[in-house]
Amino acid sequence: MYQYDNFDRNFLKERVAQFRDQTDRYLAGEIPDDVFQQLRLRNGLYIQRLAPMLRIAVPYGTLNSAQLRKLASISRDYDKGYGHLSTRQNMQLNWPELPEVPDILAELAEVNMHAIQTSGSCVRNVTTDQFAGVAADEDVDARPYAEMLRQWSTYHPEFEWLPRKFKIALNGAKSDRAAIAVHDIGIQLQVDDEGQTTFDVYVGGGLGRTPAIGALIRQNLPEKHLLTYVEAILRVYNRYGRRDNKYKARIKILVKAMSPETFGEKVDAEWDLIRDNPQELTQDEIDRIVECFKPPDYPPVQNASSTLANQRLQDPAFNRWVQQNVAEHKQLGYAIVTLSTKATGIPPGDVTDVQMDAVADWSETFGLGEIRISHEQNFVLPDVPQNRLFELFELARTEGLASANQGLLTDVICCPGGDYCSLANAKSIPVAEEILQRFDDYDYLHDLGPLDLNISGCMNACGHHHVGHIGILGVDKRGDEFYQISLGGNATNDASLGKIIGPSFSRNEVVSVIERLLDVYVDYRTEGETFLGCYRRVGMDPFKDRVYLEEPESQSYARAG
């Protein structure tokens, strides 16, 4: 992990004092509401439906055990004893009191954490693959470069007041687990023939009202140019991005209006003038940051595969969990474990203080004290010896963190929705809960195979519904909550945006509609074909026919209710 030095610590300390001063001036009536709104947002503080919401930054989703324990104690002391893992790998608290927020930030700073730039029209938390550094299919560990971008973008003098929010994601593996195609800037890292790290840079992807897949504007950018090239993109965006209409202010609108080619030329012209500026990375700096993330000396694991094979044979539930939630590690004898938060009756991504403390303990017992948060809103333990997976599984089961559903239908991505968020048109958590309740048969879920079901409570798309294989979007119809369903979205390699199947459904209809969609898939699929593959082959019609031609059973009482 990145190691804070005195510079980083002092920066945080001063930032906390600065926010305390801003809060005091606001409470004393010296700062008007609209100005304070912009200031508090840049420190992750929203005013929500029921209470403020504080979004705490978890840079590229990486935490250590002390930091997670601190999040547990803060959620216990200042909140209602739980937090929410967000789709941008952060943690959100739903019930803090505004006057206490500076104290929360001071506590976070004790463990080198903060809420800087987790909202507002600025560069947000840089995200990456939750398996970065340990994934077997990785070419380059993206975390050091995410950290360089974090430092560069933190309180950037020129780019803190952009037309709109700005999200950067990096991926260094063959599988794209960071959804780089739907970010303002997406960066794919690779190693060239001479062994140098280079970047392919995509711009203008995004979700929200106008979803778009990013366009490739630069290939094989050498690593030392990372910051100056991103500076050129941000400058073009800051100068020319629209500010007259917030729904047209994201970079994707500018890229589309100019065309990706013209936008790329404009960036190149700017970059030519600044590429040799002092922000060009030095080899010393690259080495300093990369060193922080270098792999530990993994002790050899004795009899890893035979122990694991025996345990899997003896315990079918454990076997399912290993099959679904354990990923291949770079290091022989080790495994990457996803601790799913998606258990029946629990809002996706919600974790209690007790669970946080437990995960922190396990990260030490079964690893090197490191924890990741995935954009699918789960915890990940990156370094578990294979011969101790069973022990971990049993403990996770007692804490409700052992659902064997990673990547399956019930691994729902879901925004907080109308239960918490003042932007939402409709509730999303209850829909997720109904789906988790209806589809709780593991064999059926496993038979369905990889299936991303994503739910957003409004078109701001925090639940990434556009890139769900099945996407659900809450819409408001004359004051009633309705849900629009789309098919064929995909956030990973070969990314695509979902297409809306047709008129929206009432809440009572949603689960039966999902059932019918799954039935169509089961009827039409060929051997080994995934839901997404099947949809891409057969198209929308068979799904549409089944959903609309027959009256959904639940519709009668949906109408009555």
Partner: protein, 155 residues
């Protein structure tokens, strides 16, 4: 009553900002940029979205450029300031006018602004305090071209 802060101090304003051009243009006038050719002015005011590529060289010769921030949180003037200083070598007074909130002045200052027109003395004093609230930053800026990683990193 607007208050001018220059180099972190409240000072009297020797300049006079003109929104339109009278028959006689005083020597201390800050004129709209489109009037520069018609006057002998050495000071102009511009909007933050001015195309620096078209006007940068001309503005760099002046004594003063005032950049108008039309609303809080509009950061275009920050790019313009940075370009005037770093790309066109402007060394005169770079003044922020319009919606200049105290909490924005630290960003403006790091983009090369050295003068700020605040709405009141209270706001001016707050701005001075805000500009001192953080001692160092990660990345380069107009007033500190070396990013932290190129300076001495403590161990």
């Amino acid at each position: 009553m607007p208050v001018l802060v220059k180099d972190q101090q409240i000072v009297a304003d020797p300049w006079q900002l003109l929104e339109t051009i009278p028959d006689y243009v005083p020597i201390n006038a800050i004129v709209p940029v489109d009037q520069l050719v018609n006057t002998n002015a050495n000071a102009v005011w511009v909007e933050g979205d001015l195309e620096a590529d078209d006007h940068g060289e001309e503005l760099a010769k002046l004594d003063l450029v005032a950049v108008h921030f039309p609303m809080f949180a509009d950061g275009r003037g920050l790019s313009l300031g940075t370009l005037l200083r770093n790309r066109y070598g402007f060394i005169g007074e770079l003044r922020a006018i319009g919606e200049v909130q105290p909490d924005l002045t630290p960003f403006m200052r790091r983009c090369g602004f050295d003068a700020f027109v605040l709405e009141s003395e209270l706001a001016a004093n707050t701005a001075i305090r805000c500009m001192e609230s953080m001692s160092d930053f990660y990345q380069s800026s107009v007033i500190q071209p070396e990013p932290a990683f190129r300076r001495k990193h403590d161990q």
